[in-house]
């Protein structure tokens, strides 16, 4: 019977994870890094190739390079060695990865993703593995395994959700990071990671916007703000002697809906009279090096402190971005510090000391703004956000690598009237990733992203149906770039915005003209536009 046939064809055997064969189908992987970008960063083995090619043109001694790279990292990272050794395969993490939940592909279970690397570790670096091979869970390192690693390590958004549930805190993101670092040694990179990194290295930001373009963007934003509020805000760039250096993800000044968040920052800084400067050199807080190797992360991050020192500011304020804050919070001070040329951050408006940032000397804009609101320094008219019914998406990095959970919520609650949380097991430390983080957010990888983002979108859809939510607020540039796409597909009708966009809408500025539109240029309803 035909329908029986169909069933047999459709049946996918569970198989055995030790078989490394993978198929690079269009829509579910990222293209390779163009040779010029690899060269621009002095990384190994620049060449023309694509993941679907049979021959990846690996260097002749690729196997030695990988094994030596592994050995080196086992000695340098306790996390790596430990996570290779102590997984008991209890399976607690198995169904915690959004890619597994969305795709059903068993190799997307965090434990298996890690085993892809662990099996090679056992074969070459443990006594039992060297003697007993497969029986001790070892796998011979082959080119197929390199391809498998590439496929699955670029199917992990390094979101750390699995780590929350593991009894030993095994963080598959850490293993993925090392895995990508190893692949990087033999020239297996993706363009979506390396092109922004190469741009950033040269011009200071991911899109490769040059200083004059940077200035134009900000001036343009100031023009738009003048139209909306009647107030001309300053755009200080590379200004020496400012008290504070402000660093944001570059998407804030070139992409939508990030841009409205930028407007929000600029309004806020003007209103409180902040003595600050932008920098056209440190024109990117984001760091795609994080998605490639620790070394590249450090190379791209160096400009933040370098610029703060050059400009002679007292401390640094950072905009809304997820992975940027992973780097700033957990790596920057260690990599490029100590920041002894800066001062311990104190809010010039409220006098609050940011004790939690006394060493790194960089404060998150949500911490800064929450403090302003709490001290009663801002006049907010939440009714200007009345067209929104808001929910909040915790971005992975601020949630699981910082614990920045309440500050943005506090701002949202003050800036708008209608705020609804998504279900408990999809927010805060259990938040579901957008499915596009860690350098996966490219359009050629869209189907994979739609799979991985489904658990997140599903929870959004739930609050959309239940509470009529029509805006998803978040504090991450990658979210703002990719969640609109995700929601267009899974929960049409829900838009995406930044927390400081909501703040900007609500902020009552001294001397402003009666507002007729919000920052998106959408009319405010009549009763709201009182002067």
């Amino acid at each position: 019977m035909p329908q029986e046939l169909l069933r047999i064809e459709a049946k996918k055997p569970g198989g055995n994870w030790t078989d490394p064969a993978v198929q690079f189908r269009k829509g579910v992987f990222c293209y390779s890094a163009a040779a010029k970008n690899v060269r621009a960063l002095d990384l190994p083995n620049p060449r023309d190739w694509q993941p679907f090619d049979a021959d990846w043109k690996l260097p002749p001694d690729w196997k030695r390079i990988l094994l030596e790279g592994m050995k080196e990292r086992l000695e340098k990272y306790r996390s790596f060695r430990l996570f290779m050794d102590i997984c008991v395969r209890c399976g607690a993490c198995a169904d915690k990865c959004h890619f597994y939940v969305g795709s059903g592909d068993p190799k997307n279970m965090p434990v298996v993703r890690a085993e892809l690397m662990r099996s090679v570790y056992r074969r070459y670096f443990t006594l039992t593995g060297r003697i007993f091979g497969r029986l001790a869970g070892g796998r011979e390192l082959t080119e197929d395994i390199v391809k498998e690693w590439f496929y699955y390590f670029y199917q992990c958004t390094e979101c750390r959700r699995c780590s929350v549930f593991c009894p030993y805190g095994i963080d598959t993101a850490e293993i993925t990071m090392i895995g990508r670092e190893l692949l990087n040694l033999i020239g297996c990179n993706t363009n979506w990671v390396l092109e922004p990194a190469a741009n950033c290295f040269r011009t200071g930001n991911h899109l490769g916007i040059q200083p004059h373009g940077f200035k134009d963007s900000l001036e343009f934003a100031a023009d738009e703000l003048e139209e909306i509020t009647g107030i001309r805000v300053d755009v200080p760039i590379n200004r020496k002697g400012a008290e504070i250096l402000f660093v944001m993800p570059s998407a804030d000044y070139f992409a939508e809906p990030h841009y409205y968040t930028l407007l929000g920052y600029m309004m806020l800084f003007h209103e409180i009279g902040l003595d600050f400067t932008f920098s056209a050199f440190a024109s990117e807080g984001g760091n795609f090096g994080l998605f490639s190797s620790h070394e590249l992360m450090k190379r791209l991050n160096a400009k933040v402190y370098e610029e703060a020192k050059r400009l002679g500011v007292k401390w640094i304020l950072g905009g809304e971005c997820g992975h940027m804050w992973r780097v700033l919070h957990q790596y920057m001070d260690t990599m490029n510090g100590p920041a002894d040329f800066l001062e311990e951050p104190v809010s010039p408006i409220t006098g609050t000391k940011f004790e939690n940032a006394r060493s790194t000397r960089m404060v998150h804009i949500c911490e800064f703004t929450a403090d302003l609101i709490h001290s009663g320094k801002l006049r907010l008219d939440a009714s200007r956000n009345d067209r929104w019914r808001v929910t909040y998406h915790d971005s992975c990095n601020p949630a699981r690598s910082m614990g920045l959970l309440e500050e943005p919520r506090y701002i949202i609650r003050n800036a708008c009237h209608r705020f609804f949380e998504m279900p408990e097991n999809t927010i805060r430390e259990q938040t579901f990733c957008c499915g596009s983080g860690a350098g996966l957010g490219t359009d050629e990888n869209l189907e994979m992203r739609l799979r991985g983002g489904f658990p997140r979108a599903n929870a959004v859809k739930y609050v959309q149906e239940k509470h009529g939510v029509n805006l998803l607020a978040c504090i991450c540039a990658i979210d703002k770039a990719t969640l609109p796409t995700l929601l267009e597909y899974w929960a049409p009708g829900v838009e995406v915005g930044g927390v400081h966009e909501l703040l900007g809408n609500a902020l009552v500025m001294r001397g402003e003209k009666p507002r007729t539109t919000d920052l998106r240029g959408e009319p405010l309803s009549a009763e709201v536009t009182h002067a």
Partner: protein, 335 residues
């Protein structure tokens, strides 16, 4: 396949134990016990030293709650500790109560039925297994020390509180047996866990089951001569193995399996007993921005410095009227 090998391996150990007993008598048992214990000690130390020798270049705790930031925002002292005592608390919860594993648990009403998820039993079984194992280990101390410490006596008394029919019936024995049975069953039954299970996983479980079964049978069925066991054990502990009265094949199997498992620990995932204390995502405080973490192998990297950047874009910077480092002084005085 992995299961078959594991059964085979555990069976082989048992056979070897019995054969050894026949050929070498209890001297053989002593040799095996010493060897097993020596390998365990040396191996365990080696592995822990190996881990400890690897630096922790970055402070990367996984945060599971609100950070410590502004004083009026309540932080999650245990889920996202920023102090050493908080970290101790977090580790305590993790090690004593398996906090993270508990997160998997959920009990909920679905379609009007109360459903306890499978994962909840994992937490329960894991906790039951580890705790009862600890109790049993401590109880075994009475075989190795004379006089028996009061603590051990007290523990045994509590453990034996429910005199369910049999004299000296220990609750921990039953709990351990049930938990082990569940854990093994889960490996067979749950397709996800079966998919990821390896030789090592089955072997460890089967060996433990073998140890438990032989121990229980000595206790409740064959009624081993405890005085003789103690004499032998005290001898072992004093490095003066005595030649005891016949202790039987069960005893040989029990002790051999223990020795083999002990020796296997350093080569396997069972090292998690030491590793759990060292996990950098759990045992570090999330005070990254308050206290600098030092990476011992931090090395200089190639960057694109401001000076190079200014050189690259000088003309454009000038045209856009962005202050330059070179003529900043002149600008300042002109202003």
């Amino acid at each position: 396949m992995q299961v078959v090998y594991s059964f085979g391996a555990v069976g082989a150990v048992m056979v070897a134990a019995a054969a050894g007993l026949v050929i070498g008598g209890s001297a053989w048992i002593a040799v095996v016990a010493y060897a097993g214990f020596a390998v365990f000690l040396a191996g365990f130390c080696y592995r822990v030293v190996q881990w400890a020798a690897a630096p922790v270049p970055f402070r990367v705790p996984t945060t599971c709650g609100q950070q410590t930031s502004l004083p009026w925002i309540k932080s999650a002292a245990l889920e996202n500790p920023s102090t050493t005592s908080g970290v101790l608390g977090r580790m305590g919860l993790e090690i004593l109560l398996f906090r993270s594993l508990f997160r998997n648990s959920q009990a909920g009403l679905h379609e009007k039925r109360l459903i306890l998820s499978e994962q909840k039993y994992l937490w329960l079984a894991a906790l039951a297994f580890h705790w009862s194992m600890l109790v049993i280990l401590v109880r075994h101390l009475r075989l190795f020390v004379e006089p028996v410490p009061a603590l051990v006596v007290a523990l045994a008394r509590i453990d034996g509180f429910f005199q369910l029919g049999a004299p000296d019936f220990y609750v921990s024995d039953m709990v351990l047996a049930c938990a082990l049975a569940y854990l093994l069953l889960r490996r067979f039954r749950d397709p996800v866990v079966r998919y990821i299970s390896q030789f090592s996983d089955y072997f460890a479980l089967l060996a433990l089951i073998g140890i438990a079964a032989s121990g229980l049978s000595m206790r409740y069925v064959t009624r081993v001569d405890v005085v003789a066991v103690k004499q032998f054990a005290l001898g072992l502990a004093a490095f003066h193995p005595v030649r005891p009265a016949a202790l039987g094949a069960m005893f040989a199997v029990h002790l051999t399996l223990i020795s083999v498992l002990a020796a296997y620990i350093p080569f396997s995932k069972l090292m998690h007993m030491g590793g759990v204390f060292l996990s950098p995502t759990r045992n570090l405080a999330n005070n990254n921005r308050a206290k600098r973490h030092v990476n011992p192998w931090n090395y200089p990297v190639k960057t694109h410095s401001y000076a190079e950047w200014e050189d690259d874009f000088r003309a454009k910077l000038k045209a856009a009227d962005i202050p330059l480092e070179a003529d900043h002084a002149t600008r300042a005085s002109a202003d």
